[in-house]
Amino acid sequence: MSKLTEAIAEFTERHPTLYRCVLFGENVFKKAIFGCQDCGQCVLSYNAFVCCMRCPKQMRNGPCGGTRPNGRCEVYPNRPCIWWLIYKRAKWMGRVAKLKKYHVPVDRRLEHTSAWMNMFAGRILPLDLSKELREIELPKKDPPPKW
């Protein structure tokens, strides 16, 4: 993102204890509020702050064809379809245009790492709340260390 955030990320990633604390803080916050599944490359801001990785098929680009007429998931009829929730929420928040973004395949190396630090280090798209969607060329970066 910027020199400063990159420096912060680099510093954190060099210090395992600090990194673990950041990761723990992020998990406590995101797991409790969004049901975060720890994919390490957050797309919450595009999906109206509903985590799409809670979908059994982990669909990142929209719902599968099996959503039930009452908005329930095809796999678990007693749960809502995540993409149904995302759409309803996006409609309410006026963020439907953001659903049009194409999300690249998940980088599995980033799983169980801190999405915040990955964002700071410029590995993933920034959580940009104010600006409209645009394609940002991300520099190729090594995945973060795992201890």
Partner: protein
């Protein structure tokens, strides 16, 4: 022209195409495929070979497609994201192309708990939009990782759409993503609910998507009202109108009525602007296909014109 497959050539010539569908056998023998090919050869332009549909173990769609070629049918190989990660998908695609398969339909796949291997691990490494994008990338000579691919394949890429699932706006967004990712054709769920289908189709036309992708709409012959009720209650994402159910219920001969209903839908689809073909899904009733195609007035099937020299020399295009 991307792949030069029969399906693609006919579509680009402006013909109204007919596709069939068969499920590969649940045993280690190719004879059932060759037998089913007889119901399709000359009656449809291409046949879908399903990839462990409803998560039940069957012969692989790649090998089944190869046997379909042997049986004289052009295959549309289905590929799901449930059983393979991106490595296996890309290597299977290379093998499939080398074996003469030119059409591929990219799907996410039914969840594993629906089938006979409920304890399996679902892979879902990519989703169907990403898989379409991957195939398009491979067409243009690159693997997903960015590494060069030489020589590249040239697939005619398909995606699926469900006109009956809600919410409509989200469905159109997703369809648009598939087209942008590089899908050339779209196949849909079977139509048993005309008003809902019309609504979807007009949304597709309003978004201009019928001009950017070939839309092939599904139809299904049913033999009894029980099959309809089963689909309504058990198959997620299907919509069956009351009218269809009433009609099948009150029919003297449900089998005949099912055929009649299917033929009527086919004829109606032919008149619908933006629909470029139909996809017949005769689940376990492949032998009815010739009759359906004939009664709908879609015989004889056209032959594709020979491809001109220059179009074959062109590098594979991707959008």
């Amino acid at each position: 022209m991307v792949s030069g497959s029969r399906l693609e050539r006919l579509l680009r010539q402006g013909e109204f195409v007919v596709c069939g569908e068969m499920s590969p056998p649940q045993g280690a023998d190719k004879a059932p495929i060759l037998k089913k090919c007889e119901y399709f050869r000359g009656y449809v332009d291409a046949v879908n070979l399903t990839d462990n549909q409803t998560a039940i173990v069957r012969m692989s769609s790649i090998m089944s497609s190869v046997f379909a070629i042997e049986g004289g049918c052009e295959p549309i190989m289905q590929m799901t994201c449930r059983d393979r990660n991106r490595l296996a998908q890309q290597s299977d695609l290379l093998g499939a192309y080398a074996a003469g398969i030119r059409n591929v339909l990219c799907l996410t796949g039914d969840y594993q708990t629906f089938g006979n291997q409920g304890d399996a691990k679902g892979v879902f490494d990519l989703d169907s939009v990403q898989l379409i994008h991957t195939v398009a990338d491979m067409n243009s000579g690159r693997l997903l990782s960015g590494d060069e691919l030489k020589p590249p394949p040239a697939f005619f890429i398909g995606g699926a759409a469900n006109p009956f699932a809600e919410p409509l706006e989200m469905r159109i967004i997703r369809l648009e993503k598939k087209v942008a990712a590089g899908a050339h054709f779209i196949q849909t769920q079977p139509v048993f609910d005309w008003p809902k289908f019309e609504k979807w189709m007009s949304a597709v036309r309003d978004a201009g998507l019928d001009q950017r992708v070939f839309i092939i709409v599904g139809v299904m012959p049913v033999r009894s009202v029980k099959a309809l009720l089963y689909m309504r209650d058990e198959v997620p994402g299907m919509s069956i109108s009351e009218e269809c159910i009433k009609r099948m219920e009150s029919a003297q001969d449900p089998k005949e009525e099912g055929v009649k209903m299917c033929v009527e839908t086919m004829q109606r689809l032919r008149e619908t602007p933006g629909v470029r073909g139909i996809h017949i899904m005769p689940v376990m009733w492949e032998s009815i296909t010739p009759r359906l195609v004939e009664e709908a007035g879609l015989l004889p099937r056209p032959e594709p014109l020979p491809v001109e020299e220059e179009t074959t020399a062109e590098p594979a295009e991707t959008s």
